[in-house]
Amino acid sequence: MLRPLVALCAALCSMAIAPPALAAREATAVVVQDAFVDLRTGPGRGFPVAYSVERAATIQLLRQRTDWIKVRTHEGREGWVHRSQLERTLTSDGAEVRVAGPSPAARAEHRWEAELATGDFGGANVVGVRGAYALTPSLLVRADASHLLGDYSNGWLGAVGIAHVFVPEWRVSPFVGLGGGMLSISPKATLVQAEDRTDSIAYAGLGLRGFLTNRFLLQAEYRSYVVFTSRDENEEIDEWTVGFTYFF
């Protein structure tokens, strides 16, 4: 009984010790190639420029938050520099530096997508999390999990499927999808003679996706679900959702 607790404590302690160990790791050093590089007081475009370093100065890259990188000059001054300025620096060996982050090409080249979606599933509200992996720019493998919240019943829906995006390089492109999964419905306690049921489902969908920026997509989708019930007739349910998608 005590052993897992001790192990947990040890793990937590090692985690607590870990940050200094990370900080001690040798930071990447780069040589400025622009006329000068602006060091801001915080990780954002609105923060004031507190200091500038000239061409040929060496700066150390400490940490990155979104598009901003915290750097330290050889005098020990610290500040945040935008990714675009660091892309015009060289390492001490003369190699160009690439900093992680999306580029305009990411619209057609990205691999992973994550989406928060909400909408209506046959009269019930939907809260969903969806993920997609792009096998090619126009062929996506998708997986989603949705929580269904209705007036008379609640449920969970899990599905995997594929989608074809017609023109991935367009700003707004239509897509179609197919998939299957499981639907679990539990009627609310106030209803009599109600029992939980879990059925397999299949869907065909149609949607539109548009790029908001080089990082975000807005997707609207209609899906027609068929629920393979154990009763005589299969059930058909329509789902309408909108989602906010980030791509990596």
Binding site: P19, L22, T28, V30, T41, G42, P43, G44, R45, G46, F47, L61, L62, R63, Q64, R65, T66, D67, W68, I69, K70, L86, T91, D93, G94, A95, E96, V97, R98, V99, A100, L116, T118, A124, N125, V127, V129, H147, L149, N154, K188, A189, R215, F216, F244, Y246
Partner: protein, 221 residues
Amino acid sequence: MDRGLHLLLLTALAAVAWPGSAVAQARDEGAALPAQQPQVVEPAVKRRDVERAQIDTENFEAGVFVGTISIEDFGSSFVYGGRLAYHFTEDVFAEASIGTSEAGKTSYEDLSGAAELLTDSEREYTYYDLAIGWNALPGEVFFGGDRAMPSSVYFTLGAGSTRFAGDDHFTVALGAGLRLLVTDWVALHLDVRDHMFDSDLLGDKKLTQNLQVGLGVTAFF
């Protein structure tokens, strides 16, 4: 017959040998060319080395919060929970949060003294919320004379579910908060959330507003 065959063979041999000698000649000419005509432009193509910078990216933010929540008709209670955020850009982030509280008694229950509307387990109030946030007003906060901390006033819009009175309710949550970066990777949050959901617990179905005020601490990693 024999002579015909010989002729054919000789012709074939000549046909093979001749272009060969032409190729050999062309090669000799090519070798002789630089001596006669020196190249004006020498291509100085060098392979470009690109190195991916090894930087510790810290776009995730995780933490806990405590606060008070006013559950409509059921008084105010202590609430605590956790949050996990991912910062996409300096402006936009996604946040998942969970929280739990225990509802008090309605005024009616207090006054009547007897009738209990809910059992103890039904008074448990738990929720989750998936939200998109916008760092609307970034800035700096000054603490004393020589300490400035980056800050941001943010707004969130989310959807999720609340379990209360033995039932799950679809919940829309609107929020606003202040994030203060105490160090590069530790932040303090002061935020207000309004969790809205339809409830028919006290007869007619109505939209309930459940306001939460919380104080939290998070770490970027």
